[in-house]
Symmetry: C2
Subunit: 419 residues, 2 copies
């Protein structure tokens, strides 16, 4: 915690002082924007409803986000301090920097960086338990779950920025009781509410990252929607895990919220007394005291009927990143303990972050009990899984009395009809 976290600081960018903004001067998340499709991606920082062009103000001399992410954590903190200095009310830089501001509504936001490898974890124990019951009623939570931060590799090429639209995928599915699979459009398209952690720097092959250093290797966090075709997943996933059920699209929010910005929202990480404690390589005093993050999460659905009626959507669920069974440091350390090398621009998904209550499920699979209990929406529509034209919006934010709000913006994606 340093001067950049002082809740009393206001910005000369007026919209950043709105108590409801996601992008107060205490936040300062990084992303890539462009004015039009002919322009290369530029590096920007969100402040209120504006974007500050980092190259234009001379804080960087290149346009390569990976390079910025690879800087040592001390340099990254120095950059944050420079941004705070320039953007705070009364800054001598106001006159010059105000020339480098663009309205967020007038730029396109892209992926925050070129994506390297994508790993998805499974840290939502409530999700794992509920889904496990559907796939394996007698054995919902497998014996390894409380020991191993379960993860698998995902598809990097199909990760898109908020606003992504994709067609309902085709695939093989096995109807209940059938002996022979069918081929056609998936009938069970779902979302998954996750946080994605973008890797900063990286480790050499064969060089594990210890818990004490793990957080230095995380640049920032975004919201992540791990779209899933449940019927394809059920038929294909044994024995090597999900493949075509997941790799047709994954959507992330455009702004990387740094761990520095989230410092006031750290929380202790505690295991229930009857659960095994983390093995030594996944344990540290800092992790126990402050390894978790108190990020409030929401899923919203906007159906085509809502869109037509000017309805911005309906909230389907709320949960919290604290519901994760493993911390980000544990995920990163576990990932590298065998010598696997991470690189700037890799992304680690948390897995679906569902809360403990049934209505806190971070996917329709959970909220509808595998499609058996349709949701009735406020406008009278019903849903088991997503229908063509449905838009799913993820939101995330941190609030606490006496501290300025830090938000993630939104992660929005739309399912189009099968081709």
């Amino acid at each position: 915690m340093d001067v950049t976290h002082d809740p009393a600081t206001l910005s000369w960018v007026e919209s950043a002082n709105d108590p409801a903004t996601d992008f107060s001067i205490q936040n300062l998340p990084f992303g890539r924007f462009r004015r039009n499709a002919l322009e290369p991606w530029q590096i920007g920082v969100a402040i209120g409803d504006q974007v500050l062009d980092l190259h234009a103000v001379g804080l960087i001399d290149h346009l390569d986000m990976q390079r910025l992410m690879a800087a040592p954590v001390t340099e990254r903190r120095a950059l944050r301090l420079s941004l705070w200095e320039g953007l705070r009310a009364g800054s001598a830089l106001q006159k010059v920097w105000s020339q480098a501001l663009l309205r967020q509504s007038e730029v396109e936001m892209g992926l925050p960086c070129e994506v390297g490898d994508y790993t998805d974890f499974y840290t939502g124990i409530h999700h794992a338990t509920t889904v496990g019951k559907l796939f394996r009623p007698d054995n919902p939570l497998l014996p390894n779950y409380k020991w191993v931060p379960i993860g698998y590799h995902g598809r990097a090429s199909s990760i898109g920025a908020s606003g992504q639209q994709f067609h309902r995928p085709q695939g093989q599915t096995l109807k209940p009781g059938a002996a022979v699979p069918d081929f056609g459009p998936s009938a069970r398209i779902d979302y998954e509410l996750e946080i994605g952690a973008w890797v900063a720097g990286g480790n050499g092959l064969g060089e594990p990252v210890a818990m004490a250093q793990a957080e230095d290797y995380i640049f920032g966090l975004t919201l992540l929607n791990d779209w899933s075709a449940r019927d394809v997943q059920a038929w294909e996933y044994q024995p090597l895990g999900p493949f075509l059920a997941k790799n047709f699209a994954t959507t992330v929010s455009p702004w990387m919220v740094t761990l520095d910005a989230l410092a006031p929202f750290r929380a202790d990480f505690e295991r229930p007394a009857h659960d095994p404690q983390p093995m030594a390589y996944l344990d540290s005093a800092h992790n126990r005291a402050a390894g978790a993050l108190d990020v409030q999460l929401e899923v919203w659905l906007q159906t085509p009927a809502m869109l037509a009626a000017g309805n911005p959507g309906q909230r389907l669920s709320t949960s919290n990143m604290r519901d994760a069974y493993w911390t980000l440091a544990q995920l990163l350390t576990h990932h590298t303990v065998n010598g696997c090398n991470l690189r700037s621009g890799d992304i680690l998904g948390t897995g679906t972050l569902s809360g403990p209550a049934p209505e806190q499920g971070g996917s329709l699979l959970e909220l509808t009990q595998g499609g058996k209990m349709p949701l009735t929406l406020a406008n009278g529509e019903t849903r088991t899984f997503l229908q063509d034209g449905d838009t799913v919006i993820l939101r995330g934010y941190c609030t606490r009395a006496g501290v300025r709000r830090i938000g993630f913006g939104e992660c929005r994606g739309t399912l189009l009809a099968a081709r």
Copy 2:
């Protein structure tokens, strides 16, 4: 088949005319070399024991292998023809091109290109059956196997070129009968004999590639060793598949052998009468007539004792790419049928290519029945899994009477002691 396949053609590069060479003028595989670590990677073509520098002879005006791979298949064929014209005995270009030759023994070979996404399939039905028996004695081959080309995403960052050395990974394992896992160096490090197919060009998100076009999206093939930690795998792989058991290292041979070079070694693809036929999206007359490839495969082991004795190693097994249950076109079409986008530089592994006989297993897991039956080597040593200092060498080649040999070179990797 065209003039480049004429077995009567000889090269003015004498070593390319040796009947035992992998790199006859009928082959012409692509790779990246450098004279020293200060030089950027250059694009080269193997010919006999030499490398032809493509930039030096003016056939390309850049050093970007991905860009070369992204060229339309007609352009790639035209380049192959130009190479054949310049390298054949009697070519007017001999004098100029001989200035652009380097001895393979004097250059370092790197990864053939920057790696995009890495997907690993599971097409070796004999491997899947044998391994399935070890993990699930009552249910070796799951019901989806003969319908779905099973695949999963692998780790791109830890793929290295032949010569890769890596430390024995640490990880969690569960001893037989134990209730609580251990942490330490894996005791069951294994290799897997595979072929990797490098993607050329690519498809847009949401745009599946049909069987008729699928082969145009494959630039060439390499050998691939999917190193595996079996004890880590057994404990971690449920329910999302292998993760740390595989992502500590994957080794590929440096030369991409084009599908054009392999044209004389195409084979019919036939399903046993009692097996389901491929679904319509995975079927084509061309695939049935010529979708398979007759590539002979070998695994060699060189222990530290062999190395000390000047022994180049012992052959552990032989098999053939025809032992795969799915063709490359089927893998690529299946991968994209849901709209997943592929890009130049992506690599698709076949999965372990074991033959039908027990001694044809493409991994030690198979050859030693899960470590229960040690192999006795010719020098008296025994192995269940790999020991520190062991080098595994994969080889692949095509031979047939009246046709020139086409080889893959070798894929070599060494297991070092745990750190």
